[in-house]
């Protein structure tokens, strides 16, 4: 244990009462030399239980348990924050549907929009002075909206959040109607503004019609750049926090090693790891080699030689690991741990982007989890390109489309599926229903 950690303890309890060890994702445990005791402890780590609890339930004496955890940490397999903040299970399993999209959407904070841009815009003076029962601010606003209304999204027009619920959309529409419904200007002299006001009302009504119809709204949303829901934003925030924490833990570990060992000793040790990496490579074991290189790099960061080898080995190791992951995912799935399986399949696809089973399974599991549906469609299509006659893929794809509100596509895929599997009555029934609602 490091001094800083013992120092944080203010009570009679040891720090292990507050420390919650986490498994890190960067090292593949199956390729690291572990003692049976270490392995036993490692697989108890669930990211929720405190170190104290883990040691107690493993039956090791406290001292022994601590030593084992330290060793696991040195091997880069677990980590923890010095404060020992406790995480809830939920936080650790964020259901962020599309991390990259979410990140993209949240990264660039737009400048706050000008609330009343029409006040400073230049308009045709003859319009501002035309004979009409309207004050200048109103004229400007009408001219502005009329000019912009076809560029603005339905959301901007109604001045609602992208994920606003039905109730708020309706309220917004009612509010705007009060301004632009022709009755507001009943029997008023409006001159050329009359048709503008009517046009705006029609445009706003159109926006409301689309947004208040779930199917139409889905289809419309698909034409807009992705924007995360508040829940997704929250999940992304949590994910980011976890990633930052992982990063902090890695950094801490590195600092600790640096502190514990003089530079020369570290460099020597790094070299040792590097040598064994090369050794493993010769024995055609890139996974173990990769682990060794990573240890070298954490002891002696920035070493060009190490980095070069890491670059070389990473894809090979990744591929082998991906193959193992594939098996693991299957067993996870068979045990009903579909969340884990999904994560593992996604990791497989990182290195084996055309793995047909992983593609199909990832799509299916995403569908079941109802998230990242567009990515799922993408996987499904890729899988179909490899296996065009796979009926199961057609069914998954159809259901994905249905979920996305793209009924026409869903209909097409179901029809293809039904050709392959005419006996599936459920699908036949759904097909009929879809055709009926399409009129």
């Amino acid at each position: 244990m490091t001094t800083e950690e013992t120092n944080t303890s203010g009570s009679d309890e040891g720090p292990e009462a507050r420390i919650v060890p986490q498994r890190t994702g960067s090292i593949d445990p199956s390729a690291v030399q572990l003692s049976p005791e270490e392995a036993f402890l490692l697989f108890k780590v669930d990211g929720v239980s405190t170190m104290q609890l883990l040691i107690q339930t493993s039956g090791f004496p406290l001292e022994r348990g601590r030593a084992l955890f330290d060793s696991l940490r040195d091997k880069g397999l677990v980590g923890w924050e010095s404060g020992g903040r406790r995480h809830t299970a939920e936080e650790l399993k964020p259901t962020a549907p599309s991390p990259d999209q979410v990140a993209e959407a949240t990264s660039a904070e737009p400048a706050p929009p000008d609330k009343q841009p029409w006040l400073n815009m230049a308009f045709d003076d003859t319009l501002l002075e035309e004979k009409a029962d309207l004050d200048e601010a109103t004229r400007r606003k009408i001219l502005y909206l009329h000019q912009k209304m076809n560029e603005l999204t339905h959301y901007q027009l109604l001045e609602v959040e992208r994920h606003a619920d039905q109730r708020n959309i309706k309220r917004a529409y009612f509010e705007i109607s009060r301004q632009y419904h022709p009755d507001t200007y009943f029997r008023k002299e409006l001159g050329s503004f009359k048709t503008r006001v009517e046009d705006i009302f029609k445009r706003v009504t159109r926006a409301y019609e689309v947004l208040s119809n779930p199917e139409q709204r889905k289809a419309y949303d698909a034409t807009l750049p992705y924007e995360p829901t508040p829940e997704e934003l929250e999940a992304a925030r949590k994910l980011k926090a976890i990633q930052e924490r992982d990063e902090r833990m890695r950094e801490e570990r590195r600092q600790r090693l640096l502190r514990r060992m003089p530079l020369s000793q570290r460099k020597a040790q790094a070299r040792e790891h590097f040598a064994s990496a090369q050794d493993y490579l010769k024995r055609n074991d890139p996974v173990r080699a990769m682990n060794e290189i990573q240890l070298s790099l954490s002891l002696d960061p920035g070493q060009a030689e190490y980095e070069k080898l890491a670059e070389e080995v990473k894809p090979k190791a990744g591929k082998i690991r991906a193959e193992k992951d594939l098996k693991r995912a299957r067993s996870e799935e068979s045990m009903g741990r579909s969340e884990d399986a999904l994560r593992t399949y996604l990791r497989v696809l990182e290195f084996l982007p055309d793995e047909p089973h992983a593609l199909a399974k990832a799509a299916e599991l995403l569908l079941a989890a109802k998230r990242d549906l567009r990515t799922a469609v993408n996987y499904c299509r890729r899988a179909q390109a490899l296996d065009p006659d796979n009926a199961e893929l057609m069914r998954i794809l159809a259901e994905l489309y249905l979920e996305l509100g793209m009924n026409k596509n869903a209909l097409r895929e179901y029809a293809r599926y039904a050709e392959h599997k005419p006996a599936d009555e459920e699908v036949q029934a759904r097909l009929k229903e879809l055709r009926r609602t399409r009129g």
Partner: protein
């Protein structure tokens, strides 16, 4: 602020309301009734009777008593419905010059809007008498399911009555406006309106003074009158079974049967059985008079009419489904229309919606109240306007045109919020085609001719070119008033052409103007008649008094030659007055009244001298 009348022009009853001091108020007629029968009658002397007066004399004057004309307003003579029903009406109906319907009364024909205008004139008068001030602006209601022709005809009726019709709004919508008035609510409600002649169902979204109609449907020929008809048929059947005679051949008997049917129906809403008793109903012509007497109970009535009630529920169901809703999504059900008082109706409505209907509105008055509220909101000004009621109404029927093969192409879907517009690209179908005929329809059938023809127009002056080359964009607009207008644009040249869709039935502008003038003339002459009558009564009274004094006065002044002349002069004045009465000359009658009054004063003092 200027007062605006809200008039519920009902099939059987009409009602007028005004917003006064911020609150809508129903105005009772002179008899103290808050609704007035929509009945117009003409006396032998050509005088009009409206409302209760007309209703009271209906039995003795059936051919000249017009009721339920709303069932025919804006309809075409050759429509199946009209052909079926016209035989049952005791008054004479005939074809008008535009395939419209006219009624013959004595030696004159009237259009349907003219008859409705007489009712509207009466409602206007009721309000004006109450406020002792002229009121000319009005919002008039019509059934939600009325088509463009029926709405235009209703508006024409208003104009003939000398009203400035600000807007025609739907009856169920008006009911909802009254229901939500002054309340801060956010709710989705259904209005079930079963009146005398029509059934309507509307679903509205109410949010703090804004009323969005989301769906509306109905049947413009389903109402209390049909319930009455079933009972009448039942009575006729029983009478025929007993006597082997059809009592309907006698208009007076038919009117009595009809009245008795309605009375029995209304009573059965509150009690379990009624006795229908019509003594001396029908004369056989062989010195024998037949009676009708029979018990009718609620169960029998329900048996006779259950299919009508079920039809309304079917329409509700379709409407709710069309709106993508289920009955559970409705948080309040408002019952409107007198026929909704029937227990069976309430029972089935409650069963369908799974909730007890709202009891806080007066089914006979809400529609007029709502119309007044809308009128008030329209004319209100200033910052307060932002708080007023705003109605987002829809077009109840789909609008479209006939395309090749006689099919109907929808351009604007029913239940679309108005104002709205739609464009249709039209290309020539023949080489060298320079004109095209566009027929505009309203309705839901895929076959154009099964829908209501709104009008047609010819698009002319097209460039001569191979077929398909000339492209014309036709634009359809429905205004907040629900009025359809069409314009066409040549895509190539950008030339714009605005088109008037000439109504295929209904009145021409000239006719409306002329009828409005006739109405004014009648009112003027009726007012003069009234004045004349008043003067006549007074003059005759004076003459009577003078003649009583004559002998005595003669005695007093017999000595003087000069006075003899005065006596002769007095007699001449009486003669003149009698002549004015005979000739019905108001001016000379008032002149001679002044002379008579002077004479009377002189005579009185002379007579006093004698005594």
């Amino acid at each position: 602020m200027e007062r605006v009348l809200g008039i519920d022009l009902g099939t059987t009853y009409s009602c007028v309301a005004v917003v006064e001091n911020g609150a809508p108020l129903v105005i009772a007629n002179k008899g103290g009734y808050r609704t007035t029968p929509s009945i117009v009658a003409f006396t032998a002397g050509g005088r009009r009777l409206v409302g209760h007066l007309a209703k009271r004399q209906a039995i003795t004057n059936p051919q000249n008593t017009l009721f339920a004309v709303k069932r025919f307003i804006g309809r075409k003579w050759n429509s199946e419905l009209v052909q079926q029903v016209k035989e049952r009406m005791p008054y004479r109906m005939m074809e008008g010059p535009h395939n419209d319907i006219r009624v013959q009364v004595q030696d004159r024909q009237y259009s349907i809007p003219e008859i409705s205008a007489i009712v509207l004139t009466e409602m206007k008068r009721v309000a004006e008498e109450f406020f002792k001030a002229p009121i000319s602006k009005a919002v008039i209601t019509c059934p939600a399911y009325f088509n463009d022709g029926q709405r235009t005809a209703t508006k024409d009726a208003g104009r003939i009555a000398g009203l400035d019709v600000l807007r025609i709004i739907n009856e169920p919508t008006a009911a909802a406006l009254a229901y939500g008035f002054g309340k801060k609510i956010e709710k989705r409600v259904a209005v079930y309106d079963l009146g005398g002649g029509t059934f309507d169902i509307s679903i509205l979204e109410i949010g703090n003074g804004v009323y969005e109609v989301i769906a509306t449907a109905g049947d413009t020929f389903l109402g209390g009158e049909d319930f009455d008809q079933r009972i009448t048929d039942w009575m006729v059947f029983n009478f025929a079974k007993e006597h082997n005679l059809d009592p309907r051949t006698d208009p007076m008997a038919l009117q009595r049967l009809k009245d008795a049917a309605e009375k029995a129906k209304c009573e059965l809403s509150f009690q379990n059985e009624v006795e229908i008793n019509l003594p001396f109903l029908f004369s056989t012509g062989k010195n024998r008079t037949l009676h009708f007497q029979k018990m009718l109970d609620r169960k029998k009535l329900e048996e006779l009419t259950i299919d009508l009630v079920e039809r309304t529920i079917d329409i509700c169901d379709r409407t709710i489904k069309d709106a993508g809703l289920t009955p559970k999504d409705i948080s309040d059900v408002i019952l409107v229309g007198g026929q909704s008082r029937m227990p069976k109706v309430q029972e089935l409505v409650q069963k369908y919606f799974g909730r007890e209907p709202c009891k806080n509105v007066h089914p006979d008055e809400v529609v007029a109240l709502g119309a007044a509220i809308q009128g008030f909101a329209l004319v209100s000004e200033g910052p307060g306007k932002k708080e007023e009621t705003l109605l987002l109404d829809v077009t109840p029927h789909s609008l479209g045109i006939m395309i090749v093969g006689g099919y109907f192409q929808t351009l604007i879907q029913k239940n679309t919020t108005v104002p709205t517009s739609a464009s249709h690209m039209f290309t020539t179908v023949k080489d060298g085609q320079t004109s095209a005929r566009i027929m505009v329809f309203q309705g839901e059938s895929k076959v154009a001719s099964e829908n209501e023809l709104l009008g047609e127009f010819i698009l002319s002056g097209l460039r001569e070119a191979p077929r398909g080359e000339v492209e014309i964009e036709i634009r359809f607009d429905i205004s907040a008033d629900g009025i359809v207008s069409v314009s066409a644009k040549d895509i190539e040249t950008g030339r714009q052409q605005s088109i008037v869709v000439t109504a295929t039935s209904g009145l021409t502008e000239d006719e409306v103007q002329r009828m409005a003038e006739d109405n004014r003339d009648y009112l003027l002459s009726a007012a003069q008649d009234e004045e004349f009558e008043k003067q006549r009564v007074q003059v005759e009274k004076i003459i009577e008094e003078i003649e009583k004094l004559l002998p005595g006065v003669g005695e007093v002044i017999s000595a003087s030659r000069f006075s003899r002349e005065a006596l002769n002069k007095a007699e001449a004045t009486i003669q003149r007055a009698r002549l004015a009465i005979k000739r019905r000359e108001l001016n000379s009658l008032s002149d001679s009244r002044e002379g008579l009054e002077r004479t009377l004063t002189t005579f009185k003092s002379l007579a006093a001298r004698k005594g």
